[in-house]
Amino acid sequence: MSAYLEIRNLSAVVRGTGERLLRGVSIALEAGHVTGLVGESGAGKSMIGKAVLGILPTAVEVVEGEILLDGQDLLRMPPDRRRRLIGATAALIPQDPLTALNPSHRVGPQITDRLVDILGWSRADAEARAQALLDEVHIAEPARVMKSYPHELSGGMRQRILIAAAFAAEPRLIVADEPTTALDVTVQKQILRLIAEMQARHGTAMLFVTHDLGVVSKICQDLAVLYAGKVVEQAAMRDFFRAPAHPYSRALLAATPQYTDPTGSLRPVERDVLDTVEAEIAADDREWRNGQAGP
């Protein structure tokens, strides 16, 4: 089976300075699968999701690579067509539910807008669909909630609404950008379970961006470990936890307490491991720079 989303050799730099943010990233995601993108903050894991959805900050420039969605290269598509394709087939579950809903619109239209404006549904159909979705994400009184403004709802509620909105158009790909990080610990588990449940029911492929290996183990089939914008290891979940191949992966796994000693304290990644990775990155950069200068 060929991959639904395939990222090939994607490199991105800071516009102007040329500082590398993504270093030849290649990731394949099969239809209906969940792949975790794991790394420390600044490793570029969110950047990959943003590149796929076409929402990179203007200061970031993609300099090489391909993003194939169902065989079509998003990066070599007219921007308008790309935008509509993404709108119709992909969605984002954002990180912070408090800032991801427009404060001056009611909740309902923020779920139905894509259906009505981009996919051409009738308003009544879209509203019925939104009600059903709110039901699916376990929101009581969907009709009342749809008429509320975001500030009237709790953070957990809002994240449920954003999840419902993401699934509204029955997308084939969802990018979940650290969807539980901004929430209270008690709510985190519920939301994670809800995302897993929705994903399973709708069979949506998902890129799950997180810094937390514990979260990855609960929801993903595959994962890619990133360090400084480079994929250091990509593996199936089961293989990874049995025998991580890369020293950095091993160190990362060891640093997550629940897999080693549940009572033990969090161990930082060891210095010499980091040095190994840094050396790899430096070698990669040299090669890249030569490649840039050559032709």
Partner: protein
């Protein structure tokens, strides 16, 4: 990113040079008017009335920008008019700044009763149309240079008071002010040593802006014939005369108008440019 900022920097520099250069030119013209003006600005000569500027047919040498209805040389009158414009700009601007900024600083830093009284006064002042207020004041004070300056101060102190009050309040809420007070410095010293320097860039920008406004107010008062009682040429007075004769001799209106326009624009651009350059936060 770096390129973008560099470009903004360069543009700000150009703005400073252009506006500063024009104002220097006006200052030069004002100071040396008696020596550089080609004609006596008050000399009427019906034989040379309504001469067009130098590039048009019928122009006469020595009357570069033409003459008005009474045969007075437009260029010489603009140069002499710059004197009153700049005197008003500098003295009214400085006095307004001093009074307004002091009141704003007191209201914003000391708060309490002083703030209530000053803010209420500002509210009342804001309820008057400024031009009408100015005209009314001139009617009370009588025409003349001093009256104009006093009128501008009375009307416009609120601009400084409002902005400086807000800034002083922001600064007063900062940690470094609290630590200065904990260190045992008096409130007055804190205000002058800790707050004032941080508010200065704003005051500077407002001051140059106010100078431009003063020039305009003087022109407006001259325009409604309430400026200075003598025959000394003023830009506003020239504009009022030019407005009357607009269909016969447009140059009588155009040249003082362009001078006024560039001067006012330069004052405000100079202020903005200086603020960009000296504001420690922006820099």
């Amino acid at each position: 990113m770096r390129d973008g900022r560099g470009q903004i920097r360069r543009r700000a520099g150009l703005r400073l040079w252009l506006s500063g250069g024009w104002l220097a030119l006006v200052l030069f013209g004002a100071v040396f008017a008696p020596w550089v003006a080609p004609q006596d600005p008050l000399m009427q000569d019906l034989f040379t009335s309504r001469l067009p500027p130098f590039w048009m047919e019928g122009a006469e040498p020595g009357y570069w920008l033409g003459t008005d209805n009474l045969g007075r040389d437009v260029l010489s009158r603009i140069l002499h008019g710059a004197r009153i414009a700049l005197i008003v700009a500098v003295s009214a601007g400085a006095a307004t700044c001093l009074i307004g900024a002091t009141l704003g600083l007191i209201a914003g830093y000391f708060r309490g009763m002083a703030d209530i009284v000053i803010s209420r006064l500002v509210d009342i002042w804001m309820a008057f149309p400024p031009v009408l207020f100015a005209i009314l004041l001139i009617a009370v004070l009588g025409t003349g240079l001093t009256s104009i300056i006093v009128a501008i101060v009375v009307i416009d102190w609120t601009r400084f008071a409002r902005v400086v009050r807000a800034e002083a309040m922001n600064q007063g809420a900062m940690d470094y002010v609290a630590s200065a007070q904990v260190a045992g410095y008096s409130r007055l010293r804190t205000m002058l040593v800790e707050i004032l320097p941080n508010v200065l860039p704003t005051i500077g920008a407002l001051l140059t802006l106010e100078m431009g406004i003063s020039v305009i107010v003087e022109a407006i008062l001259s325009f409604v014939n309430l400026s200075i009682p003598t025959d000394d040429p003023t830009w506003g007075g020239m504009i009022a005369e030019g407005r009357q004769a607009i269909h016969q001799s447009w140059w009588v209106l155009v040249f003082p108008l362009v001078t006024l326009f560039l001067t006012v624009l330069s004052f405000s651009q100079l202020g903005e440019g200086l603020k960009d350059r000296f504001d420690p936060v922006l820099r």
